[in-house]
């Protein structure tokens, strides 16, 4: 038996696909559990959140600006 320390991410499948894409650039995923769950390295969480937000931001449009 093995115990691996990490962070469990719960998200929707769309976000998960983006995360998989980010993982190809720089690997951080420890285990891909299912459509909604991933285990990643704890120290990478902050960076991942930033990058994910930037990615999602590219896909929002507003009337302003």
């Amino acid at each position: 038996m093995r115990a691996i320390k990490g962070v469990l991410l719960t998200c929707d499948p769309a976000v998960k696909q983006i995360l998989l894409l980010l993982n190809e650039k720089e690997s951080f995923i420890i285990e891909d559990l299912d459509d909604h769950h991933l285990v990643i390295k704890a120290e990478q969480e902050y960076r991942i959140r930033k990058e994910l937000e930037a990615e999602l931001e590219k896909n929002t449009y507003s009337l302003e600006s």
Partner: protein, 470 residues
């Protein structure tokens, strides 16, 4: 939300939110509470802060001379009301208002005597305040004067909070107020650094004035121990203020030492008015006389002189916000979640955008708080609409909030590579008993446990291998 600690459903679906002071009172010793109940004014004020059902139960028991059996009382409860009734009994007995010993219900004799005296008048406790002699030399202040004073004091505090960190230099409240704001976690910063509003502080700003006031008072009560003040005196004074008459002057003669020491703080919060700090008399403001009611505690809490008093915000389906106000505080609060575009002498125009809401969410303000602020301060014209706020805007604000929470994370350990299915299930069941399992998959024969449970799981497996080993 700091003010909503515990909710129970009112019989017609309305939520009755337990008052923020009740849990604090429940945490006090029976001795403290009994001393408090010796004052009729405190009994009345605490009574008014109870839920409607609790108030009725107290009333039913108030004039009974002997204890009534719990079964007799229970016979009056309808089937749907059982849960509420049981909860009410628990609350009342935790407050030591109700004695439930030996299957009989009776009021605490001290509370009963105190509250009876409050209802009928009489006694010699003087707990409703000694009125000051009218004197021609120092005529008192009129109600408008008191209202203006309370409003100015209160808005100074709020305005200071909202403009901290924006580079503006608003009037600083007294050091006592600043200390309280920092202690309560509404503002951060130390003695030499300029205080900064915290996420809790932003949430505080959007609450109704009544909740804000109690929030601060509760914090003040928590400080009394550090200051070696007598809690009963402090509470008794606050509850006395709540039963005083607006526009009347009271004498400070009969106040205790600690109560006299409170005068300065209460002046700073705008709860009382005094001609001079050394004055022998004081007048409660509307902030204090409405402490135990749900009517607006601030005289004209919106709009100092322009705009209707009951509400000033119009929100359109196109996310535009028109706020009929010239009050800098209200403008500043709106600025927390609205992109302001134009300003006129009595009107501020802006719109709710994704960016403005996102900024608010990052400050720790929730979508519900934004919506409830808009509802509370909606212009009378808006009140004709049903629902009050355009549904599109409400939904969008909530969606923007959800968008921020697309990713949830929990730290912990992934347990995998179990030798056998039995092994896996054995450990999993243990983890489930500890209630630490966040995710599991029998197919992959692994599960994810929270970080708090790791020590236990580790110990469990070690014990097991040790036991199996030799």
């Amino acid at each position: 939300m700091p003010s909503a600690q515990n909710t129970d459903t009112d019989n017609d679906g309305k939520q009755h939110v337990q008052h923020i002071i009740i849990p604090f009172l429940q945490s006090q010793s029976q001795n403290t509470l009994t001393r408090l109940y010796q004052r009729p004014s405190s009994c009345l004020s605490i009574f008014r802060l109870l839920s409607p059902l609790e108030r009725q139960l107290v009333m039913n028991l108030l004039w009974l001379e002997s204890a009534i059996s719990a079964n007799t009382m229970h016979a009056w409860v309808t089937r749907e009301g059982r849960k509420l009734y049981d909860e009410a009994l628990v609350t009342l007995s935790r407050l030591h208002i109700l004695l439930t010993a030996t299957g009989k219900l009776a009021l605490n004799p001290t509370f009963k005597a105190g509250f009876r005296q409050a209802i009928t008048g009489g006694g010699s406790t003087g707990s409703f305040g000694i009125p000051a002699e009218q004197s021609d030399k120092h005529p008192g202040i009129d109600i408008e004067g008191l209202d203006a004073y309370a409003l100015e004091r209160w808005e100074t505090i709020l305005h200071f909070m909202v403009s901290s960190g924006t580079g503006q230099q608003p009037t600083r409240p007294s050091s006592g107020v600043l200390f309280l704001l920092q202690r309560s976690g509404l503002m951060s910063g130390s003695q030499n650094m300029a205080p900064q509003i915290t996420s809790a502080g932003f949430q505080f700003l959007l609450q109704p004035p009544h909740d804000q006031l109690w929030d601060l008072l509760l914090q003040y009560l928590r400080l009394t121990e550090e200051r070696a003040m007598d809690l009963v005196e402090v509470l008794g004074f606050i509850f006395m203020l709540a039963t005083m008459e607006l526009g009347r002057e009271y004498s400070i003669e009969n106040l205790g030492v600690h109560q006299k020491a409170m005068l300065e703080d209460l002046r700073d919060y705008g709860l009382i008015w005094q001609r001079r700090p050394s004055s022998k008399r004081f007048s409660p403001t509307r902030l204090s006389t409405t402490l135990t009611s749900s009517s607006p505690p601030l005289p004209t809490s919106s709009g100092t002189n322009s705009g209707p008093q009951e509400g000033f915000i119009i929100l359109e389906t196109n996310y535009r916000v028109y706020a009929y106000t010239d009050n800098p505080l209200q403008t500043a609060v709106l600025n927390l979640f609205v992109t302001l575009k134009y300003r006129f002498p009595n009107l501020v125009v802006g719109s709710i955008t994704r960016d403005s809401v996102k900024k608010a969410l990052m400050n720790g303000i929730s979508a519900d708080q934004i919506i409830s602020y808009l509802v509370t301060h909606a212009h009378p014209q808006m009140r004709k609409n049903n629902p009050l706020l355009p549904v599109t805007v409400q939904d969008q604000i909530r969606l923007w909030e959800l968008e921020r929470n697309r990713l949830k994370s929990r730290e912990g350990y992934l347990y995998t590579n179990f030798a056998s299915q039995a092994d896996y299930e054995f450990v999993l069941n243990y983890a489930k008993e500890l209630d630490i399992v966040l995710w599991e998959s029998p197919a992959k024969r692994c599960f994810f446990g929270s970080i708090e449970g790791h020590a236990n799981i580790k110990g469990f497996i070690e014990r097991r291998t040790m036991g199996a080993g030799p």
